[in-house]
Each structure stands twice: as structure tokens, then as C-alpha cells.
């Protein structure tokens, strides 16, 4: 692989890792607060549709983004209602949300656009367009660093930069603010928070809402930046890869970045190369596609460092039996 190919693969890695990263951070907030979220996929899908639809209708991608976030947060509210207020099963709620999004997006898309469950193609201001960072063009002549800056760092869309900025921000919120301290505490031992006089329900709803926000951005990125419009099932399992990345990263922000970049790289390779020939031994593309899941199972099995989820995760907070 020559340098340009490598750059291009990495460039594509960045693009493909972005939705994974945003969804992974969404899951991180939710699960750090003790609410399991297997509905990342559904929330992203919902946001992808509504962002594309509204961006198409208004011609303004920012309005699309807002609509995507709102729709994703609406699903978050359902998840919160089921798993926090009514102490339902968080996993079942997540499964339901995934189905709900898969169905609603197509039904509404068909009803609005009559194009077989997709939105019309977006153009111009109804899409996030790549932005050139300052000096990208003029520096591209500089050996090694020039092309890296020009190809890899510059020329992405706003959500990409937002996703990468979200990593230190998440870290800072979780580990440097009062809100973060309480959020982590509520996922570990909600009684500690309750006896400190802080509302467990309030914190958990806040966490679930943040998850909705981030999934909303992820979905909007898919529908209005990575692609020019919504197509049915366009998340294509990214929510579950994000979940896998979350486990892989052991619920830590910086590790989430590394994990999603790794999984993005695997996707980028799988996109470009059907089969990888390693001198007689061929790695089939299907193996590359399955690798994130396989790695996650290995991590879960505890063979490579144990992944311990937040202790109170998945359990509704019940004070009086």
C-alpha cells in the first residue's frame, strides 16, 4: 500500500468512524448512568431520516440537524419513560425502539416523498459540505505533513469535527464536572446519589437525553453528510458496532475514540478491498465485516482484559420492593 492509498484509507476511516464515535459516546453517557441502550441504532436511523427530510424541505441542513436531534431525543424519552419511570426492561425497550425507527422512517418517508421509503437527494445548502481548513491548499506541498493535513485533517464536514471534539468534551464533562461525577455515581451505585440528596431519576433522564442528542448528530451526519439523503436501513448495524466499540473501550471516552477508529478502519478496508490477499492466504471481506463483533466477544469473554460495565447498569432503581 503506497502512501496516497494509505492516506485515502485513513481519510475514509475518519468518515466511517464518525457516526460510530458519536453513537458510542451516546451509549457511554447512557450506560455510565446505568441505563443500557441497545437502541442506538434506532435513534440514529430516526435522526438520519428526519434530518434528511427536513433539510430537503427547508433547504437548510442546520434545521435538518435540529429535526434529527429532536426525533432522536423523542425516542430517548420513550426509552426513559419505559426504563426509568416505569422500571421496564431496558433491553426490551431498546429492541422496540430499533424496530420503531426501522418502521416509522420508511412509513413516513413513503407517505411524504413517495419514493419507496427514501428522501430525495439533497444538494447544496441542504447538505453538510466539506470544509477546507485554513492553509490546507497551500501547505499540501509540504512533504509528509502537508498531504496528511490536506487529505486527512482538512476537508471533512462539520459533524466530523464535532464528533472528534466531543471526545475531550465528554471526558471533561464526565471527569471534571459535578454533573459528570454524579452521573458516574448513579451508574455505579444509585443509592449513593440518592442518599446524597440528588435525584436519581433526574440524572438518568439527563444522561438518556444526552444520548439522544449525540445519536441525533450521528444520524444527521449519515443522512446529510456521508450521504445525500435517507435510504431505508441506512444505519446498517452501525448502532451495534458502536455498542461493540463501547464495550471494547470499557466505557471510557478516549478509548471510545480508539475503538471506533479501529472499527472505522476495518470498515474502510472492507469497503475498498473485497478480499485481502496476504500472499496465498485470503482474508474474505466478510471476516473484516465481522471482526468488530468478534473482537467484542473476545473482550466480553474477558480473555483480553475484562470489560466491567457500570455496576448498576441495566437495573431499574427500585427503593421499596
Amino acid at each position: 500500500m503506497d502512501f496516497t492509498t494509505l492516506l485515502l484509507v485513513l481519510d475514509s476511516t475518519v468518515r466511517l468512524a464518525t457516526p460510530l464515535l458519536l453513537a458510542c459516546l451516546a451509549g457511554l453517557f447512557s450506560e455510565r448512568a446505568g441505563i443500557f441502550d441497545i437502541g442506538l441504532e434506532g435513534k440514529m436511523l430516526m435522526a438520519a431520516f428526519f434530518s434528511a427530510a427536513v433539510a430537503y424541505a427547508t433547504g437548510n441542513v442546520w434545521l435538518g440537524l435540529l429535526a434529527g436531534i429532536a426525533s432522536s431525543m423523542a425516542l430517548s424519552a420513550i426509552h426513559g419513560l419505559a426504563s426509568i419511570t416505569f422500571r421496564g426492561n431496558q433491553l426490551i425497550s431498546g429492541v422496540a425502539i430499533n424496530f420503531l425507527a426501522a418502521g416509522v422512517t420508511v412509513v413516513v418517508a413513503q407517505s411524504w416523498f413517495r419514493q419507496g421509503g427514501r428522501t430525495p437527494s439533497l444538494e447544496g445548502a441542504s447538505r453538510f459540505n466539506p470544509i477546507e481548513l485554513p492553509l490546507a491548499e497551500s501547505l499540501s506541498g509540504v512533504p509528509l505533513l502537508g498531504p496528511i493535513y490536506h487529505e486527512l485533517v482538512s476537508g471533512h464536514t462539520v459533524p466530523v469535527y464535532a464528533a472528534f471534539a466531543a471526545v475531550p468534551l465528554t471526558w471533561w464533562i464526565l471527569f471534571r464536572t459535578r454533573f459528570g461525577l454524579r452521573l458516574r455515581a448513579v451508574g455505579e451505585n444509585p443509592e449513593s446519589v440518592d442518599t446524597a440528596g440528588v435525584s436519581v431519576i433526574g440524572l438518568r433522564f439527563a444522561a438518556v437525553a444526552i444520548a439522544g442528542l449525540l445519536c441525533g448528530i450521528a444520524g444527521a451526519y449519515l443522512g446529510t453528510a456521508l450521504q445525500a439523503g435517507f435510504v431505508k436501513d441506512m444505519t446498517a448495524g452501525r448502532g451495534f458496532i458502536a455498542l461493540a466499540a463501547l464495550i471494547f473501550s470499557k466505557w471510557r471516552p478516549w478509548h471510545a475514540l480508539y475503538a471506533t477508529l479501529l472499527f472505522g478502519l476495518l470498515q474502510a478496508i472492507a469497503v475498498r478491498f473485497q478480499n485481502i490477499d496476504l500472499g496465498g492466504f485470503v482474508i474474505p471481506v466478510q471476516f473484516m465485516e465481522a471482526l468488530p463483533y468478534i473482537l467484542t466477544v473476545v473482550i466480553l469473554a474477558g480473555f483480553v482484559g475484562k470489560a466491567i460495565p457500570p455496576r448498576a447498569g441495566g437495573e431499574p432503581y427500585v427503593k421499596e420492593r
Binding site: G88, I92, G103, V104, L300
Partner: protein
């Protein structure tokens, strides 16, 4: 003392939840500018008013019985098996290998062979998540999700590179030999002058599904193993007291669950497609969750819920055929059913419990 009678919890709660899901579905249909009543009539006409409609309804129901039973058996041990999809895919592989590579003299033998093949492959796919849960404490929900995706990749690889029929453009195996073809309802129930179930895919594996219902019922409520499964599911501390091994029950239950999911392939792969195709499950593994939740994990309930979902599926196909309502409406309804019967069930149960308590107090007075 129970807060409300058993029948209320087993029948009233799911019925009310279902009702709420139905009302919301009607609102969705209305919101996209269609007439819910007309849509419902169309679904009934297409799914229940013709023998061929029944043929499809029962065909889908057969799938959902298997996956619903798979989820329920695991639920009895308080294991949430979301891996029905992957297990059924691997079941398809098992069925295909058995049908393709063993020269069967007659379908009666072939269906036995294929059932064993499907069950073993399905169970095998459930083994790793089960083992990891039992021995290493990795949550079976997450691992089975991962295994669904891995299953898809495995099947994809095998169909594209290994099993694909020579010269075919479809990633699918060659047709199975004639002798493995299962009799359809048309073959079984048509008389000389009236053809029933014309062209519909329902086949003899429906009876295999009924048999599976009876089997699960016997297993759960009549055998020692079922007794231990239920005991473990209700209380792991009590199971420990009684000397019931958590590891053994977890693994055995998941194997049975996976085998049931795998059996679904007899219906789709051997019965309908007569070859193994790329997406042989079409989400039936997930619908099994809704079916089990609605059926309260009892084979009779699962059977009824599977019929309901079979009707929804066939009715939904009819809707898509004759109206502008896309087939995904069914997915929405399915989501609402799962949401209300599975995650929001306390929303119905809590007020109901209060009602029953108040009623009782009044009676006591």
C-alpha cells in the same frame, strides 16, 4: 398474597397492552393519510378470507412459533436470547447441508434429518454465548447480538464463496433434490376438484411447529429439567440451595433455545425456498421476542401470538400489494407490541393492580 389474580396478569395485561399498541398503530395509519378501518379490512381479507391467505399466514406463523418458543424457553431461565436470528440462520445452514449432501430417499426421512441438522447448528450457535454467560459472566444479550452479525457474515461467506450454485448469479445454494421437498398444504389438503392453499408456502413443518409447542410444554412443565429451568429463572439463590447448577442450566437452556430457533429453517429453507438463500430469516428471530412477550412464555400463548403476527405479516404484504402503505407498517406495529407488552407493561400493570386492590378492599368490607 398476589396483588391481582393470575388470569389478569396472564390475559388482561397483554390484552390491554395489545389494545394500546393497536390504537397507536391506527393513529399511525391515519397520520399517513390512510384509512385504518379499510386497511384492517384489507388485511383480514388477504390473510384470513382465502385459503391461500391462510397458507401464508400459517407459513409465517410457523416461523414465529419456533422463534417465539426459542425466546420463551430461555426466558424461563431468565436468559434473554436475542440471538434467534443468528441461530436460525445457522439452522438454515444445517438444513441445507443435510438436504444437499445426504441422499434422502423420501421427504419423511429428509425432514427428520433436516430437523436434526437445523437444531444442532442452531444450538451450536447458541453455545458460545451460553458458555460465556455461565462461566465468564458476559451478558448473553450482548453476545447474542454480536453472534447475529457474525452469523450473517458466516452465511454470506459460505453462500458467496462455497455453497453457491454453479453458474448462478444469486448467492444461494442449488435447489435441494426433489426427494427433500416437503409437501405443502396444497398437496395435503386439496381434493380433486377444489384446490386449496394454492401457491402458498405453508407446509408440513407447521405440524413440526405444533409438535415443538407440545414438546416445550412438556419440557417446561413436565420434566425435571424444565422444573430446574423454571426454578433457576425464578430464584438463583433458591436454585443454589437446591443444588441446581447455574452453569448447567444456563448452557442447556440456551442450547435448547438455539435448537428451536434453528428448527425454523426447516420451514423456510427446506419447506419454502428449497435452497438456502442469503437472508433466510427475514427478522423472524426478532419477532420471536414479541411473540414470546405477548404469549407470556407459554406455548399456547406463543402459538396464539404467532398466529397474530402471521396474520400481521400476511396482511401487511397484502397492504403493500394493493395500497400505498409500505410493508414497514408491520414493523411499526411489531415495535409497538414489543414496547407495550415488554417494556411498558408496568404502565398497564400498576393501575390495574391498584384497581384490583381497591376492588378487593371494597369487597372485603
Amino acid at each position: 398474597m398476589e396483588k391481582m389474580p393470575k388470569w389478569a396478569d396472564a390475559v388482561l395485561v397483554p390484552l390491554l397492552s395489545l389494545l394500546m399498541a393497536a390504537i397507536l398503530s391506527a393513529i399511525v395509519i391515519f397520520a399517513i393519510g390512510e384509512d385504518p378501518v379499510a386497511a384492517f379490512k384489507l388485511m383480514v381479507d388477504g390473510a384470513l378470507m382465502r385459503s391461500a391467505g391462510w397458507g401464508y399466514t400459517l407459513y409465517y406463523a410457523t416461523n414465529f412459533i419456533f422463534t417465539g418458543l426459542a425466546v420463551s424457553v430461555a426466558f424461563h431461565a431468565r436468559l434473554f436470547n436475542i440471538g434467534g436470528e443468528g441461530q436460525a440462520m445457522l439452522g438454515g445452514l444445517g438444513v441445507a447441508l443435510v438436504c444437499l449432501y445426504i441422499p434422502w430417499p423420501h421427504w419423511t426421512l429428509a425432514i427428520i434429518g433436516a430437523s436434526i441438522g437445523g437444531a444442532i447448528f442452531g444450538a451450536a450457535w447458541a453455545f458460545a454465548p451460553a458458555y460465556l454467560q455461565a462461566k465468564r459472566g458476559s451478558h448473553v444479550v450482548i453476545t447474542t447480538i454480536m453472534f447475529n452479525y457474525i452469523a450473517y457474515s458466516v452465511l454470506n461467506y459460505l453462500l458467496v464463496n462455497v455453497l453457491i450454485a454453479k453458474g448462478s448469479m444469486d448467492p444461494a445454494t442449488p435447489k435441494f433434490p426433489e426427494a427433500t421437498h416437503l409437501p405443502t398444504f396444497r398437496d395435503m389438503f386439496s381434493t380433486a376438484d377444489t384446490i386449496l392453499f394454492r401457491g402458498s408456502p405453508a407446509n408440513v413443518s407447521f405440524f413440526l411447529a405444533l409438535f415443538a409447542c407440545v414438546f416445550v410444554w412438556l419440557l417446561i412443565w413436565r420434566t425435571r429439567l424444565g422444573y430446574e429451568i423454571r426454578a433457576f429463572g425464578h430464584s438463583d439463590t433458591a436454585a443454589n440451595y437446591a443444588g441446581i447448577s447455574a452453569v448447567r442450566i444456563t448452557i442447556v437452556t440456551m442450547l435448547i433455545s438455539g435448537a428451536l430457533a434453528g428448527l425454523m429453517a426447516v420451514n423456510t429453507t427446506q419447506g419454502e425456498a428449497e435452497r438456502l438463500i442469503l437472508n433466510p430469516t427475514e427478522g423472524a428471530g426478532f419477532i420471536g421476542i414479541a411473540v414470546a412477550l405477548m404469549g407470556r412464555n407459554h406455548p399456547v400463548g406463543v402459538f396464539i401470538a404467532a398466529l397474530l403476527f402471521g396474520f400481521l405479516y400476511q396482511g401487511g404484504a397484502e397492504l403493500a400489494l394493493w395500497t400505498n402503505i409500505p410493508r414497514e407498517l408491520i414493523v411499526v406495529i411489531q415495535a409497538l407490541v414489543i414496547l407495550f407488552t415488554g417494556a411498558l407493561d408496568n404502565m398497564v400493570r400498576m393501575p390495574l393492580e391498584r384497581l384490583f386492590l381497591a376492588f378487593r378492599r371494597k369487597e372485603a368490607r
